[in-house]
Amino acid sequence: MDNPALTPERLLETTTLDEAISYLLSEYADAVSLDDREGYQGVIVDSRRLVGIARVIRDDLGFDYLSSATAVDYLGAGDQMEMVYHAYRTSGGGALVFKAQTDRENAEIPSLTSIWRGTDFQEREAWDLMGIHFPGHPNLKRILMWEGFHGHPLRKDWREAYYEEDLKPFDSRWPGGHVHRAEEKNVFGKNVTYPPDIDLGRLIDSSETAVYQSLGLGVDVERIMDKDGFETNELVVNMGPHHPSTHGVFRMVLTVDGETVTSLEPVMGYLHRNHEKIGERNTYLHNIPFTDRLDYISSMGNNHGYVLAVEQLMSLGRKYNRPTYRCEALRVLMVELSRIVNHLWAIGFWLNDIGAFFTPVLYFVQERERILDFFEAVAGSRMMCNYMRFGGLFGDLPERLKSVSNLTNDRVRDYNTMQFLTEMINERVPRTIDDLERLLTQNEILIERSVGVGVLSREDAINYSAAGPLLRGSGVDYDIRRADPYSIYPELDFDVAVEAEGDMYARYRVRVTELRESVRILKQILPRLEATAGESIWADGKPGAYAPRVPHGEAYGRVENGKGELGYYVVSAGGRGGSSNPWRYHVRAPSFINLTPMGIMSRGYKVADIVGILGSIDIVLGETDR
């Protein structure tokens, strides 16, 4: 950490988490109180003093990185809305969790965008889905739903169009078995409330005006378009939602002065399915396959974050066994392979974006196919792996990858699993990475396109809660596997990839280094797998229950996924015996929050660079829109 002069106040950075909390409790006794609910952590801050205390937390206590900000609706359990913030130090360590409460009617909590710009999208999301108003937010409007949408869907009393019951499993499935098709049940509009003035036949979306307004245009787009002759020195360009460079349905509204971008606003939500609402209807177990569908390039990592969060909650109970060593080793094996898949994919498609059309992608995807073959043989599916369970895994490694099949070609690709893995880790993946570097790293065209483009400064990266290669490409030495380790990472030997420049090329180099570091980790995992062969993959020695009861409390499980920090905030509001459905299930999606600095990263560059900058952030819309 290259801190400027250590003033007496900044010395507090050396305090531990507990000391920091007791400092807050003693210095601001009138505004800060300990969160003493069963299984909860951190402090509750008086929402009127929130901004001041947040500044103390950031500047004096050194918690400079706000990882997650999300809302919880405690309907029927205190009847208040609560914003939960998880702040970390970029030098590493645990979270300082602080919360602000407000009542459900006229919910209002001051905006923290003046302290952490990274709360920008997250507060908009909380407004959109929970209906909390944030005075002081520069651009508070809906982000995932459209502007004409009625209600705030994550509130507990809001019911969706296909509503059946509050909690799964639904009673109509068994023993009565009242079979129906979903669309037969959903008479359009039957259980959705629309504002009285909305014309259902012709849904008019007022968000367009809002988008243009927020770009600081004098709004009248038509007037700008109508400027006669060639005098259009400021123009609005809509890139997307259907644009090949946006990797899905994603839209960027930019104003350009000639070819130069003067402002940019990401518009998202086209793939929104309210994953979190589905997650709150689901049981804990039901959610694991749903997490696969977030960042579908690295579903193993998604599984991992979620099971870590729920295992944290389970560890609050009386009977809890840690996952076995073999289970942890297998998890790391899978997650690191997904990271390789993710980075090969990210680099390949970023190359596509800046003009090297499909040649690099296809070279890299060959190796990805082999890894997916492995996933398919072990977990049963190539991309929607659904591999991890609470306290265990779906299954141990099979002895052979393709043992038998009813097809005629069943001898093709029949490998011993460990041999296949060893060959993949020691030979094929490193060879692919070498090829990748030979093709790209010194390539003059690539360098000219990417060096000095899309620069994000170190301060901005931290302040905008950027994560993953985006953060490390800006010179912040922050990798959760190191900074706040989980699983067996503390005992593994690897370096955190970091580059100081903050441009597209730096992010590319971070990804290449991470590929090599992943291979290094995998090489250490192989002997561990051999040493633990035969050990149970289940913490309790037998498969877990199909409806586990999870004790009361909250947990934030986070992992370093390929795209950045993936966090799951899970609240269990069960009674004495715990609950089998989460009360709150929130995903801190790296693809979503990494888009927050997209505006400042693009300012001043050309339109053709925007495509590359977006590619270098590496987003997946399944995760962005959730």
Binding site: P169, R173, W174, P175, G177, L285, G380, A547
Partner: protein, 279 residues
């Protein structure tokens, strides 16, 4: 020197270009003809160049654990005592554990007593909703529902074809053992017999009562039921020495009272929960 990086990269592309013809020449261009051997050349570890699978003329074999849309196991037609009988006991765990809730089960009732019988009256799976997670197969305590390998389910009319009923879902036990012999073997070890749990119990009870009077009926499945695959030698050995049934296991009927009691309590709990939810 400016351009060296570029040239190095182009050399790599050149290598890929040349490699795509190396195998062609080595095998005299026959690797594109559709046959198992040629497919093996193209898909092997040592292959270079074009590796495309010419689907649907060729298909890559799916691994055993591959999962795609569940099916129900019924006893083979040539089974001595239970031919054509469902393995499913309509306990409802698959419907409860299904994340998108695409399984509907009508529990069977005895027409005379009105008591539930361990057999589903109807069973539906909406494959449009099914997310192929495999939980139903994983958590089924009777090994009665399994994930299929048949991924070609396209049809012209989803309204009539995509809700699979019991008839469409049912596949014989031998089919499961042919597509996943290793797993079927592991399940057999866990169950203690190649037979269905209930059948094994019944047989055990029958054996216990028959020990004094009648000769013991043949219970264990003969080793011949093991799929005729060369890899399946292991299961064959195992079936010759089935895990011995637990001594003094409680017969099914003695549990009846307890089960009834449990069921009553569960219904009470459920009603209580529903009442709480309604508040």
């Amino acid at each position: 020197m400016y351009g060296t990086g570029l040239a190095k990269g182009l050399l790599l592309t050149m290598r890929h270009f040349v490699e795509s013809y190396v195998d062609d020449i080595r095998y005299g261009f026959r690797k594109y003809h559709h046959s198992t051997d040629n497919f093996g050349i193209r898909q092997g570890t040592k292959t270079k160049g074009v590796i495309t699978v010419q689907y649907p003329d060729e298909k890559v074999a799916v691994p055993e654990r591959f999962r795609f849309v569940p099916f129900l196991i019924v006893e083979d037609e040539d089974h001595p005592t239970r031919a054509g009988k469902d393995w499913c006991t309509s306990c409802g765990i698959c419907a409860k554990v299904c994340p998108p809730q695409c399984i509907w089960i009508v529990r069977g009732n005895d027409p005379n007593t009105g008591r539930p019988v361990p057999e589903p009256e109807a069973f539906f799976i909406d494959i449009d909703i099914c997310m192929n997670c495999g939980y139903c197969a994983e958590y089924c305590p009777f090994d009665a529902i399994k994930m299929d390998h048949d991924y070609e389910l396209a049809s012209y009319d989803r309204t009539t074809h995509h809700i699979h009923d019991k008839e469409r879902l049912s596949k014989p036990n031998s089919y499961w053992r042919s597509i996943a012999p290793t797993r079927a073997y592991e399940e057999m070890l866990a169950r203690g017999s190649w037979e269905h749990k209930d059948a094994a119990k019944e047989a055990r009870r029958g054996a216990a009562s028959a020990r004094s009077s009648a000769p013991r009926p043949a219970v264990e499945q003969p080793a011949a039921a093991v799929p005729a695959k060369s890899e399946a030698t292991e299961p064959a050995e195992a079936s010759a020495t089935p895990a011995s049934p637990a001594e003094g296991a409680t017969p099914w009927s003695e549990d009846e009272a307890k089960r009834e009691e449990r069921r009553r309590k569960a219904l009470e709990r459920k009603a209580r929960r529903a009442a709480q939810r309604g508040q």
